[in-house]
């Protein structure tokens, strides 16, 4: 394995990527969302997906595309600043990106996802994988924040890991001037949220956070983060079929 310094695609030019493709065929696409996260940044999911991907890929020298900042979050439409792509739109965006990467010689593509609402697109990725093409292209869809090992680590601190809550509250997702309540609030059952329309979601969660604690100490967060990075890195190294 070639160790390299940061390989964000945006810190590279095409010649460097061409050179990279001579010795490797992996690439990472982070997928996020622009949506309310309570007191946290509207970009929480995109920020975390891109960052966890970059930190995981760095020692492996695998290039990381810029995060797709918009995802599927129709249920948060009543919180200003939340954006959402329709599912049919999202499918076409992924189709174009996967087709383009495959045409250029990438053969192992890891989508590192930071937003639960994007998860159904895995159905399309499965469809894409199954289409006939001259060379086999593998695509992994990995939701980093609830992957088994990361969840296990987070569970040690608090099993309530809700949207906009402590488990997404990192130094890099906080915004200036946003003071959070010190105490946890009751958890809103996930099933319930799935049945609500935008106005009802806002009524159920007036500040956008879905329950549990708002924050934990930074040292706890670092432990969760390290687990997330390690789990993505392991995937990039060993998650492929030979």
């Amino acid at each position: 394995m070639t160790l390299r310094c940061s390989l964000r695609l945006f810190e590279s030019n095409w010649m460097q990527i061409e050179e990279y493709l001579r010795r490797d065929d992996r690439i990472v696409l982070p997928t996020g969302s622009t949506e309310q996260h309570g007191f946290l940044s509207l970009g929480t999911d995109a920020i975390l997906a891109e960052r966890v991907a970059v930190e995981a890929a760095e020692p492996l020298g695998i290039p990381v595309l810029p995060a797709l900042p918009f995802g599927m979050a129709p249920y948060f439409a009543a919180f200003p600043g939340s954006m959402s792509l329709r599912m049919t739109t999202y499918i076409e965006v992924l189709r174009d990106l996967l087709d383009g990467l495959a045409a250029q010689g990438f053969r192992r593509i890891a989508i590192v996802n930071g937003h639960g609402g994007n998860a159904p697109v895995a159905g399309f990725i499965r469809e894409w994988i199954c289409q006939p093409r001259p060379d086999r292209v593998q695509v992994l869809f990995h939701s980093w924040y609830n992957a088994p090992r990361t969840t296990e680590v987070a569970d040690q601190f608090d099993r309530d890991q809700m949207h906009g809550g402590w488990v997404e509250n990192f130094k890099w997702t906080r915004v200036a001037g946003a003071d959070m309540p010190p105490d946890p609030k009751p958890v809103i059952p996930r099933n319930l949220v799935g049945q609500l329309d935008p106005a009802q979601v806002r009524t159920a969660a007036p500040d956008g956070m879905m329950g549990g604690a708002y924050a934990r100490p930074d040292e706890d967060m670092q432990v969760v983060w390290d687990a997330g990075v390690a789990e993505v890195r392991a995937l990039l190294e060993t998650g492929w079929l030979s």
Copy 2:
């Protein structure tokens, strides 16, 4: 609650449905798939989804639409008789059906799903729920075969509940002239299957079954079935927001 005899939509005429709508606003849409199930019927998922829906709905007098017999199963394309709709197609089919039901006055729609590959369409249903419309319409998406209580009951017999295996082997999904191996086979990890293209799936599971036991005694199957029916019925009765 009005108790009625069978209300398959296909055993009704429109006048009966109109009369029903004066006192209730629920309806059930079973969603299946036409795909290989090892030694079992190519229609296993559709047969089970429709049957579990009908049995659950019958004492409640809720009409059950005919099962949508085709679903998303691109990974089984190498097994003859397996059909698959692209995800974009499936979304438009559901959109049309939901729009039509909503326009006719149905306000609580339960999709009883029999096929794992259809699950991503829940993302679209969420989107549909969130679109502005004059009256609120609830849509539940319930995969009966791995719902919590049904799984709990099945786990008592055997925790390996794989595609084409014992847990789908009912009197009504067997086909004439198909003798199954008496012994279980090793389980193919679900994650692995998700990465394979059609040819690889066939190589990994030459007979189409994904591992574990092929069959269990009919009395065990009845216990599982009863749990499935009961869980769907509970959903139809109490799964709605007031």
Copy 3:
């Protein structure tokens, strides 16, 4: 020709279909509709298309897919229980099914259609046939209920063969508890119906039936039915280009 007992695809497993494909390349797809049929079942078109296909195909051993139960019937939207796919949706469903069958080795596909509103999709089938593909695939689109010989037989009894009327009134399309008027009613001209929107259709045909007699004796109906089955069977045997 191999004589076999029933070959509904849902009564087969994939191995039986694979074995079948070694000696034949025909398959039947019945297409129906879920829509008001006056006093008759909302599933009349699907029930009849599937049944006529199965009876016709049985002695030939040709497998019959489950009927596509939803079709194009926007004009019946004001009669509860009527469903409709938009034409663009219906085209994509057929495209997926035809593509899938062609990829698995089927080379002669007979669509046995039970609903007049589906007929325009024949335009798409023509388009599909004309697309370049490695092997020639024939697709027949046969509306069984108004095919020449069946119509000739029905004409002997009564030339008014309207939607929801006697010509669709078989033992297997009647529903419990639906008493029909004993006398015929005036026929609504087909052209007229084509110009009406859903509310106007309901006004023009308050009970959904489009005119003529509601019923005929079962022995007459059997004669019509036998003609329909025979005509589909002849098509499956001799309707192909060599």
Copy 4:
């Protein structure tokens, strides 16, 4: 009724159309095709549809849009100069035109069609009519060349009325330098043509004409033409629901 000289939309400006809309709400859209017609013009269907529409509408003062020159003719792809829109494309074109006309106040739209391959779009028009809109908009789809009275008149001369044959051979569809065979040729059954792919169509009809006579005397043709014009005119006058 206001009698006016020619009202081709292209011989009007918008002010004249606005003024027209104060007293009438009818408009005509001719639909043609650009496709082989044997020895006749590649534009035969568009030329005839537009001309028959203009002659029919002229004494009524109803404006006629320019013919949509491209239609659905995938089966003629092997004859150079033949163009074809996919059905999904054609539907969207018609949707846009109908939506635009309805938004501007047209309430009775007659599509005068000159090409058999376009006929399936009537399914979409039916769908369009059935969509909810503030004001009712009627749309007639009239294939002028095989409408009842026109056919009756043509039958008096010769019942073989095939693609590219005498029935389409008018002074205004002939091209310079194209000498036609003097004698009829055997008719190719319509059903057969529907099953052929482009290469097979060309083999079956090497010169593109589908059988029967290539020409008739101009005076006969004028009789057919006059019948066509009269039938379209009657439709524009009396074909609407009140």
Copy 5:
């Protein structure tokens, strides 16, 4: 180069086009619009595009397709008689036409455009050119009315060349009974028009003309026209990559 008399595709039959393809591979597609042009014809853009194409192509013997009479003009919706295709529709129409021409052996396709609102489709043409295909196909998109040399010639008369104004006022775009104001009016800035919705466009330009003079002497117009024809002809002759 073979000199020939007029080769409008509609004045040809398929045999003539096939014969042409043995010695040349160019074809012209004029694209217009049906939209208000102030006092001028609603068909101005289509009429001019087709005519300039035919006159330019005639001495070169290159066939000219009929103009696509409908384009993208959503901003003129408040002027009756104006039609508009959505951009997604327009893209699919062009895709079908280009695919068809390429399949028949045309390798150099010139789109002669007469409407500014169509210009964005050049982005799709670029995409089409870049798709993999067995043989290279060139597509030129040329807006004749503001091409460099034509503009230079028109500038000699008057630099205000606005929609509906003198620069589109030819003998062949005027309509009977439309008297234009003798004096110029103030020019509406193009940027401004781009920000207005249909109602605002109509308020800003009550007669539909966008400013400057309404007419110029026919001899001036001929000079502009000749420049337009010459520039298109030069493109058809020398605008291709070798």
Copy 6:
């Protein structure tokens, strides 16, 4: 005007955006591309569009969405790392974002574009503006890099402002380890590039740069940059209709 510190949307939470919407209704969406820029970053267009937008909007307190990092660049497909969305995909992405912003109360949306290949989407934006909606929403599409004043300033240094050349070479678009040629190279005519397919583009511009100088002193670049920022800021302040 309220002066505020940075308002990148990703540095805000939804409550801050809601509070902002009480006093203003403007927002900025930067659109970029991920594509080869010669020796410069693959993200040049996205980086510049986002940065120029943020610097322009900062003193005005207008929030800036994250840049859409993927655009339309099919012609660069042969340079690894270049991504491209099909035009139909790009249209749907913008439709979703504009619809979402409009639904949340934004009434003046400025798209600050950094990539020439995206410009055709302005056609769709025009269409979007013209659709009926309850409240008027203005959308500006501004390509910052070739806007009039910015170009004027750049022209003072060098009129050859080509893709990948000096005019895009800022400290924030260079990548580590990429040494550029010291001397200019001949300019490739823009028209020519528009006719080439991906392989030909790479042949015409082996290093991806389209001609002219590769770099200029940082102080010159700062002058160009300041002009770009000022022009965007002026647009955000005064570019709207009242």
